[in-house]
């Protein structure tokens, strides 16, 4: 059904964006604080993994 797919698509997009923003933001903050440069990348990767896990929980389990 078109509406279901549309809604699923934008939910997934929202989760991925939140994941990158939140954990990437924490990584960036730690980088600034500790004077490192790789924590932003680690944060972004954690964020994407979390978001994909969440997408799987929402849409993949049924």
């Amino acid at each position: 059904m078109v509406k279901r797919e549309e809604s699923a698509m934008w939910s997934i997009f929202g989760y991925l964006l939140s994941g990158l923003l939140f954990w990437g933001g924490i990584g960036y903050g730690l980088d600034q604080w500790l004077g490192k440069s790789y924590l932003t990348l680690i944060g972004l990767l954690i964020g994407v993994s979390g978001a994909i896990y969440l997408v799987w929980l929402r849409f993949g389990r049924e």
């Binding site: 997009f13 929202g14 939140s18 939140f22 993994s49 979390g50 969440l54 929980l57």
Partner: protein
Amino acid sequence: MGNVRRSSGEGGFVPPGSADFELPPIFGDNAYTTKPIFLVFLSIILISLFFIVASRRAAIVPSKLQFAGESIYGFVRNDLARDVIGHDFLRFVPYLFTLFTFILVNNLFGIIPLLQFPTMSRVSFPYVLAVTIYLVFHYVGIRKQGAIKYFKEIMFMPGVPKAAYILITPLEILTFFVVRPATLALRLFANMFAGHLLLLVFILGGEHLLQGVIGLKLISPFAFIIGIALTFFEFMVQCLQAYIFTLLAALYIAGALADEH
């Protein structure tokens, strides 16, 4: 209205940009009298008139106008509200119907000759609409389930190992309270902004080519033809964006009403 945009300035072609969306006030220095504000009022007048006339003297055998009005209403009521929200959808129909017609008419202003400015390409209008949706769907969620249960359902999905909550709970909170309403507004804004800019590029470009040497004059019709084709394309985008905005609003309300998201 008033000022005419010209394609060439002192240094040749002036490419369209975000400055083309910052229209000067019409009356003096009053910043509340810009074109988008008038377009919003015009849209409200047009929508009200249309549906008042269409629903007056409603007959069993409908006139063409009544049929048109009822088709739009029926579309929002059945295809958006009933299909998405399910039972108890009727009390959201007025809101969704207002949202849909308001956005649709304001988007269509982008291609109506002489008006030719999509109101929603000024970002504050979509923001305000998104704020109303934000208030509505959190309010109905809290009313239906109680504040504690509602927020608990958002933050802690059942059937997930406890350690995983550290990873996903912040994402759920951010998605529900920031990303969803923000993307809702920005999607509408960006589509209208980009569409208007695209039309400006081809039509102003065509006009500028007309002022060039004979070779350039011969090319200019192609720019205008593409401009006209894009106008039809924009019509499609404008309808689609009004639909998607209302659909997502209905989906968020449905999500807040459902016991499990």
